[in-house]
Symmetry: C2
Subunit: 282 residues, 2 copies
């Protein structure tokens, strides 16, 4: 999971060579940037090709230690590299093994379009008691994203789009993503979720100590709010969910998560941040 | 409900006489103060005896328009007046009709010990989807206050106690209240709730537009956070719940709720606020 990206970067730093390719599959929000910045802090001078996938290429579940069951492989997953002009070259090399990857615009597009940030943590913390009482035996999306809960998801989603917009990135709304990925539509997020037959039968996680919180809060929501704070974009609803998750799990996700410091963009101008994504330097 | 106290004060202002008794049953948080301040703003000079009950004297449910079913009458409910030295006199007069009322220390004790502030709104918003999917057909306390949800309640409860302490009031913790009211004990709030047989069989509200949110958020949580802000006591968890409830209900509870302005204590020193409760003037 994305919680391991920083550790892996630190561990691999002495061994990585400049003609190698690192693919974070998926990167969550800010994966490639954090990997890049971690290598830099380790004194690496010649960087490998670092890429992040917008989402995980497999629809799968872990079914035991060292065992995963792959239900299906997604048709098309955007991939971006840092710098962005490496994308075509990297895709060309990996396409024989992973023809599913398609070019993403840049790492901010893959990072901000990480839709799990919206669907995973809030839906889990706002259904905590139901999950704990039933061990997840209910329809996660169809029942869990009720009218009121969907309003909270939609408010968070607006905040995500606003942070992206402040960086000049047009991210896709959760509602539009449902239409693109599943042809599910509706006049608001609640209707679009309810209209998605692909969600039928998907049960909730069976416990709270689950990647939907422990990975997605620090690696997806925390970077969104941290970048928002730096760009003076308010993200109060994303912060509520981070804080509720922290109280429920007895953790300080704001502290262990990805921030503008660990992404290496603290204090940078919007122009410089965009330059970093496009050219790998400023 | 307490949402009506301000309206009732405004409506009754021209007709109230100084030998009459007004009992807010219950006052929620700040009921007597808001009633008093509203009369004052209306130019009233000779005040009736204004009292607030710490909780509602009846265990009851509304079963239709103009119909309520009273399941039982509580044995003992603290009552306080503004000023506090009226408490014995008011109790003496009303004891023939309502022998259940016992002396409360002062209006801040009854206001801060309004335990619904902790149990009602958070438990409802954190179980919103379950309530909407099942129309409240689950055990509200026993299942709804799961381990993770109870941690949120306990964090809010600490904030309530800290705001009270800043005013020099030792409020009762939710855990101790469970012991006092039901002899239910445990090493944390979750255990104490689970140990309370009195909660068995109590179902959740059947919808979100319910007094547990629409009354308790503006009339219990908002005054707690407003007084906290004035006294520089942080109440972040109470604020999350107010904001989640506002998003879910499409309302601005912070704006419609009781604040230090509507309670008439804005900018007052702690000493003056305490004097107001004790002597009715500063």
């Amino acid at each position: 999971p994305a919680n391991g990206h920083r550790f892996m970067a630190n561990t691999c730093a002495p061994y990585l060579k400049e003609n190698q390719i690192v693919i974070l599959n998926p990167g969550r929000t800010g994966g490639a940037l954090e990997f890049y910045h971690t290598l830099k802090k380790q004194g690496v001078e010649k960087f490998p090709f670092i890429a992040e996938a917008q989402t995980f290429i497999y629809a799968s579940r872990s079914i035991g230690p060292c065992h995963a069951k792959i239900f299906s492989i997604k048709n098309s997953v955007p991939l971006a590299t840092i710098p962005a002009y490496w994308i075509p070259g990297v895709l060309k090399i990996i396409k024989r093994a992973f023809p599913q990857f398609v070019p993403g615009d840049n790492i901010f597009k893959t990072s901000f379009n990480n839709i799990g940030a919206i669907f995973h943590p809030a839906l889990t913390v706002l259904n905590a008691a139901w999950i704990e009482a039933s061990h997840g035996d209910f329809e996660y999306y169809i029942q869990g994203a009720s009218l009121s809960v969907s309003k909270v998801l939609e408010t968070m989603d607006k905040e995500r789009l606003e942070v992206a917009a402040a960086l000049g990135i047009k991210a896709m709304s959760a509602k539009n993503w449902l239409y693109t990925a599943y042809s599910a539509s509706g006049k608001n997020l609640h209707e679009a979720i309810q209209a998605n037959p692909g969600y039928l039968g998907i049960k909730a996680p069976d416990r709270l100590n689950h990647r939907y919180i422990d990975e997605d809060v620090p690696m997806s929501l925390v970077p969104l709010t941290s970048i928002g704070d730096m760009l003076k974009v308010e993200t109060p609803t994303i912060k509520f969910i981070i804080n509720l998750a922290s109280i429920m799990r007895g953790k300080d996700f704001l502290k262990e998560g990805r921030t503008v410091e660990s992404l290496g963009i603290q204090g940078m101008s919007i122009k410089d941040i965009r330059m970093l994504a496009v050219s790998g330097e400023i």
